[in-house]
């Protein structure tokens, strides 16, 4: 827990420092010129917080790990109008806990997911963006109790996010993104705060 707080503080400080040295008229998510198109990659990493409704059976005496690492990779097509389209993947941990059975034997259970989502985004201001998407989550359970089991399931799901992107150069920005990810099959949800590198790698 203490390490997570330090990491978050470090992210905020790093963003602030870079922001102070950046320039206003460089990278932006808003349309620049008529008939100018670009592909933009967003690479993010940070901390996820498990925030789903419901939970594990009480008789298991679950000890849930709320914090976990979260990663995102997104490619968006930026056309010459406000709405943009793209795809996102990444890695997220949902329900992660230890439990005890009636005889006191410990079980470790972790559900992770790799999302593949179609996304829309719109820049509300030069720096502030909203994202929303839906698609599938490749869910995986790792269970360690009376032997190990790995089990997988495909789920539909969605995401919503808000990001603030500070330009670093003409094609690069650095941002912070607050993101909600939700998988329907396991009614799992996680909110994450990620530091994001944004790179407009192709323009035409």
């Amino acid at each position: 827990m203490q390490n997570n707080k330090r990491f978050l503080l470090g992210m905020v400080l790093a963003l602030s420092a870079i922001t102070a040295h950046s320039q206003d008229d460089q990278f932006t998510s808003q349309p620049t010129r008529h008939k100018e198109y670009a592909l933009v990659v967003y690479m993010g990493g940070g901390v996820g917080y498990y925030l789903a409704a419901g939970g594990t059976p009480n008789y298991l005496q679950p000890n849930i790990s709320k914090y976990s690492p979260a990663y995102s990779l997104r490619v968006m097509w930026h056309p010459d109008h406000l709405i943009k389209l793209g795809v996102e993947t990444g890695s997220i941990t949902f329900l992660n806990y230890t439990a005890k059975d009636a005889s006191g034997q410990t079980a470790k259970i972790r559900t992770t997911a790799v999302p593949v989502l179609i996304e829309w985004t719109m820049a509300l201001t030069k720096r502030f963006n909203l994202f929303a998407g839906s698609g599938v989550y490749f869910l995986k359970t790792d269970l360690d109790y009376a032997g190990k089991s790995v089990s997988k399931k495909l789920s539909i799901g969605w995401m919503a996010a808000a990001s603030f992107i500070q330009p670093v150069s003409k094609n690069v920005g650095l941002g912070t993104e607050l993101k909600w990810m939700d998988a329907a099959e396991s009614t799992d949800g996680s909110i994450s705060l990620q530091l994001q590198l944004v790179w407009k790698f192709l323009r035409w």
């Binding site: 419901g54 594990t56 298991l60 949902f94 329900l95 929303a132 359970t141 789920s155």
Partner: protein, 420 residues
């Protein structure tokens, strides 16, 4: 545009919430019924109460007629007898326990409309003058009148309900009223999980003479009761375990999985023991969802048929053959044509494996010609999964089936026992 986008995101977020209905059962708190002087009813009294009744007060809810029949559940040395009332309306049923208090008979329980969550308490009395004296002395009563009240939810019941004995139940020696998934689905909001031991104990009270149960196999080869191919929150309490149930061992499922409406995933052995020793059920349809060999299933079927015979208990257990894949596995079994089986496939396939029972879906209609052909060969025909009072009534009146599998066995029970 920006505001529209924001509003859409917020709307999706809040509309994602879903309501989870709880299966209600009112608290049994009739102090007179629970008082120390109240004693259990003799078996001859119970038998004489069974019958078709005219509903004199309360017909708005329960219809003009009802069928009343006893069932039981054994737990250790204790046997609990329950008197069920089956109504023609909306698969409504009442489940009561009976006691004698002085010269009266008290019947206490609850009613439930199976198509929604409506429920309430029921308290009925057969007074000495209304037949109790004769019933308690093993004498045929001139008339039997049950009178009392019913209510809504946990409120004190105040609405009048009275029933008058009309005629005996239609005799049932061979028609099977089968309860789906051990007694009913989770979607039916019953007070137990589908395919659980507790649900199986409830099935006879819903009017069933037998149950259909779904059989899967765990990674370590244990046969278990579970319907879906994967662990999911329709059937279990969320616990982080996802994916095919065959990926887990029985020890893992037993220790870590809780069924949605209570209880654990039972083994098939536990289920058959429950059916055999704790209920009056006489028919088991093993809906085979195994992907591999059926040898374990056949061995358990054979073992429990032998146990039933040794205990003088009439119990038929059939291996279901619902798909071509299961058919391929079934025909790998030695002497498969002599194995008690139930085929959901077409008539020629049913004949080729010499299945005892042909089980076509109700959506194929009455199929009178095929049904007659099967019956002429000595096979029974059971249709599935037939719900809705009107449809059940039609199939009973116009068809010639030997049984019906239903999520509403109480409705099948009414229309079967009330038919003259």
């Amino acid at each position: 545009m920006k505001y529209f986008f924001l509003t859409a995101v917020v709307a999706v977020f809040f509309s994602s919430c879903k309501r989870d209905f709880e299966p209600p059962v009112p608290v049994n708190d009739w102090s007179l019924f629970l008082s120390a002087p109240a004693t259990s009813l003799p078996s001859f009294t119970r038998n004489k109460i069974e019958g078709i009744y005219t509903v004199r007060d309360g017909s708005i809810l329960f219809g003009n007629q009802a069928a009343m029949k006893w069932s039981y559940t054994k737990t250790g040395a204790d046997t609990v007898f329950q008197l069920s009332l089956f109504s023609p309306l909306d698969a409504i049923y009442i489940i009561l326990e009976g006691r004698r208090l002085n010269n009266d008979i008290l019947l206490n329980g609850y009613w439930r409309r199976n198509v929604n969550v409506e429920t309430g308490k029921v308290r009925l009395t057969i007074t000495a003058a209304n037949g109790a004296t004769a019933l308690l002395n093993n004498v045929t009563a001139d008339s039997i009148i049950l009178s009392g009240v019913y209510g809504n939810t946990d409120e004190i019941p105040e609405v009048a309900l009275s029933l008058k004995y009309l005629r005996p139940l239609r005799n049932n020696t061979g028609f099977e009223i089968l309860a789906h998934r051990g007694g009913g689905r989770n979607a039916d909001l019953l007070p137990a999980s589908e395919n659980s031991l507790e649900m199986i104990r409830l099935a006879a009270g819903f009017g069933a003479t037998g149950v259909e149960i779904d059989v899967h196999q765990t990674r370590d080869g244990e046969l278990i009761l579970y319907h879906d191919a994967t662990l999911n929150e329709r059937l279990i309490v969320k616990n982080g375990m996802v994916g095919p149930i065959e990926n887990y061992s029985y020890a893992q499922l037993d220790a870590l999985v809780q069924l949605k409406r209570g209880g654990k995933i039972p083994t098939l052995r536990q289920a058959l023991q429950t059916i055999l020793f704790q209920t009056p059920l006489r028919f088991v349809w093993l809906d085979t969802k195994l992907t591999g060999s059926l040898e374990n299933l056949r061995a358990l079927q054979k073992e429990f048929i032998q146990i039933a015979n040794a205990n003088g208990r009439q119990l038929q257990i059939f291996i279901g053959v619902p798909t071509k894949e299961v058919l391929n596995q079934f025909t790998q079994l030695p002497a498969y044509r002599n194995i008690p089986s139930l085929s959901e496939l077409d008539v020629p396939t049913t004949e080729s494996i010499n299945a005892n029972i042909w089980a076509p879906t109700w959506t194929q209609g009455l199929q009178t010609e095929e049904v007659n052909r099967m019956q002429a060969q000595g096979r029974s025909v059971i249709t599935w999964t037939l719900d809705g009072p009107d449809r059940i009534d039609k199939f009973l009146n116009e068809g010639s089936f030997n049984g019906i599998l239903s999520n509403q066995p109480s409705a099948v029970a009414y229309y079967f026992y009330a038919k003259q």
